[in-house]
């Protein structure tokens, strides 16, 4: 036996320790998805404040711009928050790509399997893939715009964007994609890690699924109502497009921007 051959045998005999990265990546995908879903719940509450009043939406916008802390607006703070969310979004998208069907054969196999099985959680996973794919583009377009125009948020500024700049089309698609993807994702996170399993996992899963659909339907309805409110304001405000909203109680301080 020559030395090269002996060396190869020795290398074969040593089994390398399994990488810890599959575990880390799985956890990172779950944590990034959870953070994004929780952020989207908060985001929905913030944008839906327009349903309360223009003043309420203006106040929340100014809160994020640091107006009530520093006495003047710093839209750059919004850019920093958007950049963090964008980073988390890219990380989550990259990690989730590992689970996407990799080629036509895998799509075909999964599609045939799903149609035959008529199994809700299997079908929901396919919807998660489709909505996730749509979010690559829809969410990126929205995030990039917010990153580069952080000061253009407000009752009139947002309404002008939604109606005058035709962003309502993007936001309508984004609403359905985000709420379906996030709702299915949070449900899957719970069953994947066994959270809220309790003593009767089957009953807990039924409750989780019911909660998932309830939350998804509620958030889509809230989102549609919110979008309709911005469209209404946008149509009414079209003749004064570009003008910023200023609550009556702060008009003496110099306006919205």
């Amino acid at each position: 036996m020559n030395s090269t051959h002996a060396g190869m045998l020795a290398a074969d005999a040593i089994r390398p320790r399994a990488s810890r990265w599959p575990a880390r990546l799985d956890v990172a995908q779950s944590v990034s998805g959870l953070l994004l879903a929780l952020f989207m719940w908060g985001h929905m509450v913030f944008v839906a404040s327009i349903l309360v009043s223009k003043d309420a939406m203006w106040t929340i916008t100014k809160l994020f711009e640091g107006y009530f802390v520093f006495g003047e607006s710093y839209p750059g703070i919004v850019s920093v928050i958007v950049a963090l969310v964008f980073g988390l979004f890219i990380l989550h998208a990259g990690l989730a790509l590992r689970k996407f069907p990799a080629n036509y054969r895998q799509y075909s196999l999964f599609g045939r399997h799903m149609r035959g099985m008529r199994h809700e959680d299997t079908t929901l996973w396919y919807w998660q893939v489709l909505t996730g794919f749509a979010l690559f583009f829809l969410a990126s377009a929205h995030l990039w715009w917010m990153l580069t125009h952080p000061g253009m948020i407000g009752p009139y500024a947002s309404a002008d964007r939604v109606w005058g700049d035709h962003f309502w089309i993007l936001y309508l698609l984004l609403l359905f994609a985000v709420e379906l993807h996030g709702g299915i994702g949070l449900y899957r996170l719970a069953v994947k890690w066994g959270v809220f399993e309790g003593k009767d996992p089957a009953a807990s899963r039924r409750r989780l699924r019911a909660a998932k659909w309830t939350i998804t339907v509620f958030l889509i309805a809230l989102g549609l109502a919110t979008l309709a409110a911005y469209v209404k304001i946008g149509i009414e405000h079209a003749p004064q497009r570009g003008e910023r909203y200023t609550p009556a109680w702060v008009q003496h301080e110099g306006g919205e921007s």
Partner: protein
């Protein structure tokens, strides 16, 4: 078996193909059979083979949901022929072999080969501390509650329904499936097994193992033995993610 006066006429569509005769292309063959009271798919298939077509291939041994031989796809979903009553199905019944396994012929697949490869890959047997086992010595006593827990997971009959129901296994042929993850869970509980979580991570801590599971949970929902697969997979994922 006598058919009652109100018996349905069942139309059974069977996917036929014999790899030993590759010149005969896969085809669906339809048989018509009168439904009998308490009829299972196993009884129906036996009647088909006896009275209509002796060339029809399908597997069975126990006829009681114990051996796991008669797994097949029934109207799109995996299940055991011997545990499926025709009364639960529409009059049109479509039968196909379990996918992801090597086809022997018609409805017969080689689950044994797949299960053996998986068992060897996951080293699914008790690993004792001693190099040589003294067969004359009594086994150590096991707490009855723990023995019950081990037995609960050991009820798996390796029928292959969980693998055939798994979307991940369809796309990624190296995925160990719920049956494999459940096996590791079983040996992890066994106090005679000297292995710890670090050792189990070596076997299951990868994208073909527990971290490849996408939690579609059809395995859990269609397991003929109703094994707690959802809980087992989640439990092992939590344990191995901490390594």
């Amino acid at each position: 078996m006598n058919a009652p006066a109100t018996a349905r006429r069942l139309r059974v569509h069977v996917l036929r193909y014999n790899p030993a005769e590759p010149e005969v292309l896969p085809r669906t063959q339809t048989y018509e059979v009168d439904e009998a009271e308490g009829m299972t798919l196993f009884i129906l298939l036996s009647e088909l083979r006896e009275k209509h077509d002796p060339s029809l291939q399908f597997d069975f041994v126990c006829r009681a949901g114990v051996c796991g031989s008669c797994g097949m796809v029934i109207n799109g979903r995996p299940g055991l022929a011997c545990r499926t009553l025709t009364a639960e199905l529409p009059a049109d019944i479509t039968l196909a072999p379990l996918p992801t396994f090597e086809l022997i012929g018609d409805l017969s697949v080689n689950t044994g080969k797949w299960m053996r490869e998986m068992t060897e890959r996951l080293e699914a047997w008790v690993h004792t501390k001693e190099q040589e086992v003294d067969l004359r010595r009594h086994e150590e006593r096991m707490d009855p509650d723990l023995a019950d827990e081990v037995y609960e997971l050991d009820r798996c009959i390796e029928c292959g329904c969980c693998v055939a129901a798994c979307g991940t296994a369809h796309m990624r042929r190296d995925f160990v499936g719920a049956v494999g993850i459940n096996k590791v869970g079983r040996f992890r509980l066994d106090p005679r097994d000297a292995r710890g979580d670090e050792d189990f991570y070596e076997l299951l801590g990868n994208d073909d193992g527990v971290f490849g599971c996408m939690s579609l949970l059809a395995c859990n929902d269609l397991c003929p033995k109703e094994l707690p697969l959802q809980s087992q997979i989640a439990f092992l994922r939590r344990r191995l993610a901490r390594i």
